[in-house]
């Protein structure tokens, strides 16, 4: 299937046939009531003249005319090139520029009640967040204010999309006018919206009873699994419907499902799915789902796409880009500067370039107000994007032709062309320049003024003659400044020259008494006489203005009431004292002495004088910004310690080191290791000689003298680099979720672990349910994106868990170790039967298969069936000997072998049983006593299991401990005297064997991947430090390189701090605040978790409610973690497990809780 960024052709054509006959469709109101009096005859032919027209980006026609008829553009041309038809209303554009009306490809409307209604239907999906049947027609219309706010930016059409749930429903494209003719739908189908929303594991606020049903998915992995299963279900549902239609006899009718039925067109690629890609990682995840299910997909982006530009481009899909710019980071104090990671500084600096980078890479990108708290921030953000180097044409394209094409309305919108909708935006000043003003928009040929201009005829500075005064005014107010557009009137003294330095601008507060005598500013400055006075309560009517003004400036007590009344020949200015006495001036048009002073310029001039710093020359500032941005090393990840280009020599020769082979040769002194093309080709002495022919050309030589080399360390139990929660704990069986869906390659802990010699890790699901999610075996390819991390060819696995963690909740099954076994048995039985049913269907002759209902795809049972078939390894969290023995028995009964027992702290008690079964043991070296079931844990566990013949490893289960696995192996020597050459295997080849990646890694033998670490000393010594770490022959850590990167990052940081502290920072930020940040990929969550965009803001949650209390507890808990020295970004709500604890505590009054997965 082609990945054309536009909608499937058939649909476009369909919409065009309806819509390009728009003369009819737009002019008649189908549901018009009967006329109450005379039938209105609407003459709708308007021409905009004296404008320049930008028909499409890059195509400008100066002094042009646009003729609109009945809502459509009839003609566009140079003035005088054609004659205006009779009956045309002519509008003088006053030299403004006309662009095609902007199109916002994503405006979200609250669909919570529609979703709730859909979830309550008889044939609703079991999960209340799956409501794709919600249609735009079910949604509340945009309010008058929302429309106006969008129009004021220049938008004339918008795709309105539902905002609640995971499958949120489908949107439509509407016009943004107020008149019904300019507010109708122009595209019925703007695609269906999907977001990886999670509950954060919480029950619905008002429905704690429903927690077990409603809380899934609690984590990103669960959300993705639910999306995958639902698309699979929809395809199956469609197949069932076809089968049923062909052959109802003897078949059960297809399951009634409004949700699955609503996705029928989607799974056939006939309706586009818009994925909420709340950061660049979620975008790539959504792409993977779309590829798997052959969907036509687009993304509602995050503004962070530039961080993975090549990958985003490779998806070939369109992106709706929010102009959601982060606020300028606080760089006011050293403490504040220390607290900002480079990741955030760089994002602040580069976010304004995101749109341009996407467009230049060829990604179809539409600029949108989505994710902005205030649509009004859009113009400011757009201006900033342009200041940061986006061209006006790029911005215009992102607002017109790109969104039109994405929404399938490019035939009728997005350009100023005859035959297109008469949707125009008329703009004074350069597009998104500082002085830009959206004067008006035309929508379906109807004019919408942004700000109705006052019809008051006077504007400018007028000389006041001698007044006709009832008393002697104190001063000599000699000028009157009238600005109906700014709704301002001010009197000024003669000595104040307009625009002069030190002058109070028209919009500055009125000077206080005595202000004029000496305001303390520099000598030589103009003396001010205090006659200036700014009017208050100003109102303008067509020919009259009213105001009040402080009498002091005119030698009167109290407030004077004033008016300006414009007559046929001039105007009367009157100031009325309370007693009725008045001062009067008469103004004639000839008294006009100048324009309204430019407040901004005056302010700048004043600031320049006061502060001594000249306002930044915009061009110079832009040049400085451009230079600073260009100097940011574009590393992967774009963060501290990011990699510019990995060091990957063709060949590496490590010479003269002590080599710990973790193979039959043991520990070999004075030994070489040769690496070619990422593989170890030789381990032995004097290898330089074998290179005699080619010599050392292109060979990177590592002097190993005095050093030690080990295989790269392997951690068989890790939770590092998993986005959005490691536990999908909301159901007792979640075999369908996959950690591989949530790998975060940007977690700096990967780098820190490389700095401890680690090269591979088993990323495991948490341990809150008996059957958890699928694991992910990765190599630490720091500097690459997530797609590069998985170890290709690793046998897949899954996390199981027994004991206290999974039975903690006493209100769900299982609540004791008794039920753990029966539940697991039941699910295996279920998987077996499901597989058998599938096999029977598959075995049917082709003709019969079309008549029999196909079996339902089931990601959960599929994973379990793979275990029974030996295609998937069980990694089972376990502590007590009884539960260990139970699992082994159960596995024997079902005919599979357990991959590893994780933790297995009482493994020493049943070491013989474990050895007999053949499971691996992946243990803590010496942890104990943190919970009841580990009171009998002993540090001899590893040695005793090893001695019994079990393949034994030590793991970390900790981002921190994984940085020093070498000295975990040391403890196998300390406790029980495992020989050193065997002890090193506990953290190298043994975990590799347990993960079935030992053919690739884990020992230093020819043919294996060149995964190794170089140490300063005996790696089992506490004093050993890791010098360099290589993965696949690529150097991923090196101490000298590390020092270089620190210097590099410090330099970048300094430049960005300077930028943030300067004018670019002042004008700086957008309104996004912290949203879109988060190195762990919490990013701009698609919602669900309160406090995330898309979900109700935390303050909108009822205070005192259960949810509010739980959130309060959570925040306090997390804050305490930070207070006691944890990086705020390492604190993972939902991942630390505290959410579970809180939920359980709150709902089940559980007495104790446990974090994490151990």
């Amino acid at each position: 299937m082609t990945r054309s960024p536009c909608r499937p052709r058939a649909i476009i054509r369909a919409s065009l046939t309806v819509l390009s006959a728009g003369a009819v469709s737009l002019s008649a109101l189908a549901q018009q009531g009967p006329p109450v009096a005379m039938r209105p005859v609407d003459v709708r032919r308007d021409a905009l003249v004296n404008v320049s027209v930008v028909a499409t980006p890059g195509e400008r026609l100066a002094d042009a005319v646009v003729v609109m008829k009945d809502g459509w553009i009839e003609r566009v041309g140079a003035r005088g090139s054609f004659e205006l038809p009779a009956g045309t209303t002519v509008h003088d554009g006053g030299g403004a520029t006309v662009y095609a009306g902007f199109i916002d490809a994503c405006v979200r409307v609250d669909s919570a009640s529609a979703a709730k209604a859909a979830a309550g239907e008889a044939a609703a999906h079991w999960n209340t967040r799956v409501t794709p049947q919600v249609r735009a027609a079910d949604l509340p219309a945009l309010t008058t204010d929302q429309r106006k706010a969008l129009r004021d930016i220049g938008f004339t059409a918008a795709a309105v999309r539902p905002n609640a749930g995971i499958f949120r429903g489908s949107g439509q494209v509407v016009l943004l006018g107020d008149d019904p003719r300019a507010a109708r739908t122009v595209q019925e189908d703007a695609g269906t919206d999907v977001a990886f929303e999670t509950t954060g594991g919480r029950p619905d606020e008002d429905d704690p009873e429903a927690w077990n049903r409603a809380t899934y998915p609690g984590a990103l992995i669960g959300s993705i699994a639910l999306v995958r299963q639902t698309f699979a279900d929809a395809a199956w549902h469609a197949a069932c419907a076809e089968t049923w239609a062909r052959n109802p006899a003897g078949n059960d009718p297809p399951v009634q499902s409004n949700a699955l039925a609503a996705l029928g067109r989607t799974v056939h690629g006939m309706q586009r799915v818009w994925f909420d890609a709340s950061d660049e990682r979620n975008l790539l995840r959504a792409d993977a789902v779309a590829r798997e299910h052959r969907l036509d997909a687009g993304f509602i982006g995050s503004g962070r796409e530039y961080r993975a530009l090549a990958e985003v481009k490779a998806t070939g899909r369109p992106v709706i880009v929010p102009l959601d710019l982060p606020r300028t980071p606080d760089v006011a104090t050293p403490r504040a500067i220390e607290a900002v990671p480079l990741r955030d500084l760089a994002h602040w600096a580069l976010a304004p370039t995101n749109l341009a980078e996407l467009l230049r890479a060829g990604v179809p990108a539409a600029a949108s107000t989505v994710r902005l708290r205030e649509p009004g921030a859009f113009a400011k953000a757009a201006r900033r994007a342009i200041d940061a180097g986006t061209t006006v044409d790029e911005m215009l394209a992102a607002l017109t032709v790109h969104p039109a094409r994405m929404l399938g309305i490019e035939g009728i919108a997005g350009q100023v062309r005859p035959g297109h909708l008469a949707n125009l935006v008329v703009v004074d000043g350069p597009l998104f320049g500082e002085d830009m003003k959206v004067r008006e928009t035309w929508i379906a040929g109807l004019r919408h003024e942004s700000e109705p201009r006052s019809k008051f005829p006077l504007k400018g500075t007028y000389a006041l003659g001698t007044p006709d005064a009832a008393w002697q005014p104190a001063g000599d107010a000699t000028e009157l400044v009238i600005d109906p557009d700014a709704k301002s009137i001010a009197f000024r003294g003669a000595k104040e020259k307009p625009g002069a330095a030190g002058e109070r601008p028209a919009d500055a507060p009125a000077p206080r008494e005595g202000d004029g005598a000496n305001d303390g500013r520099a000598a030589g400055e103009q003396r001010r006489d205090g006659r200036g006075a700014r009017a208050e309560s100003v109102s303008f009517e067509d020919n009259r203005a009213g105001f009040t003004v402080d009498g002091k400036s005119f030698g009167a007590e109290g407030t004077l009431r004033g008016s300006v009344v414009v007559g046929r020949t001039g105007a009367q200015v009157t100031l009325l004292r309370a007693d009725g006495a008045a001062i009067r001036w008469t103004l004639k048009p000839s008294d006009r002495t100048g324009d309204v002073p430019d407040a901004k310029k005056e302010r700048e001039a004043r600031m320049a004088e006061a502060g001594g710093t000249a306002p930044a020359d915009p061009a110079a500032l832009r040049a400085k910004v451009a230079a600073t941005l260009a100097a940011i090393p574009r590393t992967t990840p774009l963060a501290d310690f990011g990699i510019e280009k990995p060091f990957a020599p063709k060949a590496v020769l490590v010479e003269g080191a002590t080599v710990w082979t973790a193979a039959k040769d043991g520990i070999v002194p004075d030994c070489d290791v040769l690496v070619q093309d990422g593989k170890i080709t030789a381990v032995g002495k004097g290898l330089r000689a074998t290179l005699a022919k080619s010599g050392l050309e292109g060979v990177h030589v590592v002097d190993g003298t005095g050093k030690h080399v080990t295989p790269g360390l392997v951690d068989c139990h890790s939770h590092t680099g998993i986005d959005g929660g490691v536990n999908e704990w909301t159901q007792n069986v979640t075999a369908e979720v996959r950690i591989q869906d949530a790998v975060n390659a940007e977690d700096v802990d990967w780098y820190r672990q490389l700095a401890g010699g680690l090269t591979a890790a088993n990323q495991l699901h948490g341990s809150a349910n008996p059957i958890g999610g699928q694991n992910s075996v990765v190599k630490l390819r720091w500097g690459e994106h997530a797609a590069a991390f998985p170890v290709k060819g690793a046998i897949p696995g899954i996390k199981f868990a027994l004991g206290e963690n999974v039975t903690r909740s006493k209100k769900r099954y299982p609540s004791s170790r008794l039920g753990v076994e029966t539940l697991i048995r039941d699910r295996f039985q279920s998987a077996r039967e499901w597989r058998e049913a599938g096999a029977r269907w598959n075995a049917l002759p082709a003709a019969e298969r079309t008549r029999a209902m196909p079996p339902r795809p089931d990601l959960e049972l599929e994973a379990l069936a793979e275990i029974l078939e030996g295609k998937r390894l069980v990694h089972c969290h376990s502590y007590r000997q009884d539960e260990i023995a139970m699992l082994l028995r159960l596995a024997d009964d079902f005919g599979f072998r357990v991959g590893t027992l994780q933790h297995v702290l009482e493994g020493y008690k049943v070491a013989d049983d474990i050895a007999r079964h053949g499971a691996g043991a992946s243990s803590f070296s010496d942890w104990w006593a943190y919970k009841m079931e580990v009171m009998d844990a002993i540090p001899w566990n590893g040695q005793m299991l090893w001695k019994a013949g079990v393949v034994t490893s030590f793991n970390s289960d900790s981002d921190e401990l994984a940085r020093r696995m070498n000295t975990e192996a040391t403890k196998a020597v300390k406790y029980g005297g495992v020989p050193r050459e065997e002890a090193i295997k506990f953290v190298t080849i043994n975990p590799a064997r347990q993960l079935r990646i030992d053919a690739m890694t884990g020992s230093l033998e020819p043919g294996k991947d060149a995964d190794f670490a170089v140490w300063s000393a005996d790696p089992l010594s506490t004093y050993a430090t890791c010098l360099e770490t290589w993965v696949d022959g690529v150097r991923r850590f090196d101490r000298a390189e590390d020092a270089r990167m620190r210097a590099r990052d410090a330099q970048t940081r300094a430049a960005l701090v300077e930028l943030a502290a300067g004018d670019w920072g002042k004008d700086g930020g957008g309104d996004a605040g912290g949203a879109g940040r988060g190195r762990r990929g919490r990013g701009a969550d698609p919602g669900g978790a309160p406090g995330a965009p898309g979900a109700p803001p935390v303050d909108s949650i009822r205070s005192g409610s259960l949810l509010a209390r739980m959130l309060g507890t959570r925040d306090d808990y997390l804050m305490e973690q930070v207070r006691s020295g944890m990086d705020p970004w390492s604190v993972r709500p939902g991942e630390c497990g505290c959410d579970q604890i809180d939920s359980w505590n709150a709902i089940f009054e559980a007495t104790s809780g446990e974090g994490g997965a151990r």
Partner: protein, 461 residues
């Protein structure tokens, strides 16, 4: 001689039901031919040394050969070439003895209710029969500076011996510093965090609360001095030492802003601050140095505070602080069951110590950071922490470098009484070795490597 010694260690394979506290030292002991680290600042180790102690006190020590008359003729002589002697290590800022099983609330006596409980003392509820201290002793940890937890003012830390029949036997000093947890000064910008303004308000509220509490305490103490008939306020009464600048304030603070604020607060009030935690201390090292504030680094096995901090930021922290002239002690920062990680943490701190002229011997400095300095912090530096004649004979005999992971504790004495080095782990191991033997009655000689770290037999009383 050596063989005899090691042979004597390697007999007991059977579990004891419990570990028996040592009686007061009855017989003089001389240890000979060991590498000796006195942990006295600036004093180099003695490669081949002897040390004698009796009645719980060190009598003398020196380089071999030992003068013939240096020890009583009836002294027990332990000849241990290749072995290392150091003072007993301290578990600093620890909850050892206050909690048994972290996730079983009923076993947790670390935290009193409320935010201000200055009146409580850790010594009150350190359980002498906890299974955890014997495990710590096997890592050479013989003393603990136990901290109550929770709230803003947590209570008084206590200096405890890790042997003795009762909590009273074990207590060396009950008032060993007031534990204060400093509020977060910086605003956290993470997504889950409350708005910055709200955080600022919350912080200011907490700071005001702290000041109110100590203002009231100072006023009370002045009033009571003037009028002893004034009713007694248990909370404020317990603060006399702190207010007088005698008992230190042990301020838990990690972020630079916290540290800075806490130090300036204490300086303003004339208190003696100690920073506990200290992850960000290097950023405010000038203020620490100016006020001569010591730091208890709560473990090097911690992730760096911030993304931009180097992978070794915490590993190298103790040494960097020392090189900058700060007096540093090292705590494990770990849960009480895992205090035994302390020696290896010290080793890691040595391994990552920067080459700095201010820190010529990182190993000696770190040894001081787990012996001498914590004893001073606990207010008992005159009696514990170094090997000096007249001081307590609280001594560890190690199989090698105490900071190496493979090193084991051979013997240990607290105030001259020899510790029972059995523990729950060894008991469980012995029990299941028994199972193995029952199931495999005739183990082959090559069944596995020899067990080299058997627990020593309890000394006969």
């Amino acid at each position: 001689m050596a063989a005899a010694l090691l042979g004597a260690f390697a007999t007991c394979a059977h579990a004891q039901s419990t570990e028996i506290p040592a009686p007061p030292q009855q017989k003089a002991v001389v240890i000979r031919n060991v590498q000796l680290h006195s942990a006295v600042a600036g004093e180099p180790r003695i490669e081949k040394a002897w040390i004698s102690f009796e009645n719980g006190k060190i009598v003398a020590l020196g380089a071999e050969p030992m003068p013939a008359d240096a020890a009583r003729p009836d002294a027990q002589v332990i000849d241990a070439p290749g072995h290392v002697v150091t003072p007993g290590l301290w578990a600093s800022a620890s909850t050892l003895g206050l909690v048994e099983t972290l996730q079983v609330a009923a076993t947790d006596d670390t935290t009193e209710f409320g935010d201000f409980h200055a009146e409580v003392h850790a010594a009150t509820a350190t359980n002498p029969d906890s299974d955890l201290p014997p495990v710590a002793r096997n890592a050479g940890i013989l003393m603990v500076h136990a901290f109550p937890q929770g709230g803003v003012v947590g209570g008084h830390a206590s200096a405890m011996r890790l042997d003795g029949w009762t909590a009273m036997d074990r207590t060396v000093r009950a008032d060993a510093g007031l534990v204060v947890r400093w509020p977060m000064m910086e605003q956290v910008q993470a997504r889950w965090a409350r708005p910055a303004e709200e955080q600022r308000k919350e912080r200011d509220r907490r700071l005001a609360e702290i000041d109110r509490f100590f203002d009231a305490a100072e006023a009370y103490l002045r009033a009571r001095k003037a009028d002893p008939a004034l009713g007694k306020d248990a909370r404020y009464d317990s603060l006399a030492g702190v207010v007088a600048g005698e008992e230190p304030v042990l301020v838990d603070a990690n972020w630079p802003g916290q540290i800075e604020a806490a130090v300036l607060w204490a300086a303003r009030r004339g208190y003696r601050p100690v920073i506990v935690g200290g992850l960000g201390a290097l950023d405010v090292v000038e203020v620490l140095r100016e006020h001569a504030v010591p730091v208890v680094v709560s473990g090097v096995n911690r992730l760096p505070l911030r993304e931009q901090d180097g992978f070794d930021a915490v590993y190298a922290l103790p040494a960097r602080l020392m090189a900058a002239g700060i007096e540093v002690s090292l705590a494990s920062g770990d849960e009480p069951a895992h205090e035994r990680s302390l020696p290896m943490q010290a080793g890691r701190a040595v391994a990552h110590a920067p080459k700095d002229p201010g820190l010529a011997d990182a190993h000696a400095a770190l040894l001081g950071a787990v012996t001498r300095v914590p004893a001073i912090r606990a207010g008992v530096g005159a009696r514990y922490g170094t090997l000096v004649p007249g001081k307590s004979a609280t001594i560890v005999l190690w199989s090698g470098d105490p900071f190496e992971g493979t090193t084991v504790v051979r013997r240990a004495w607290i105030d001259g009484g020899e510790c029972d080095l059995n523990d729950r782990h060894k008991r469980m191991r012995a029990k299941y070795e028994e199972k193995r033997l029952q199931r495999e009655p005739a183990p082959k000689d090559d069944a596995g490597p020899p067990v080299v770290a058997d627990p020593p037999k309890s000394p006969a009383p």
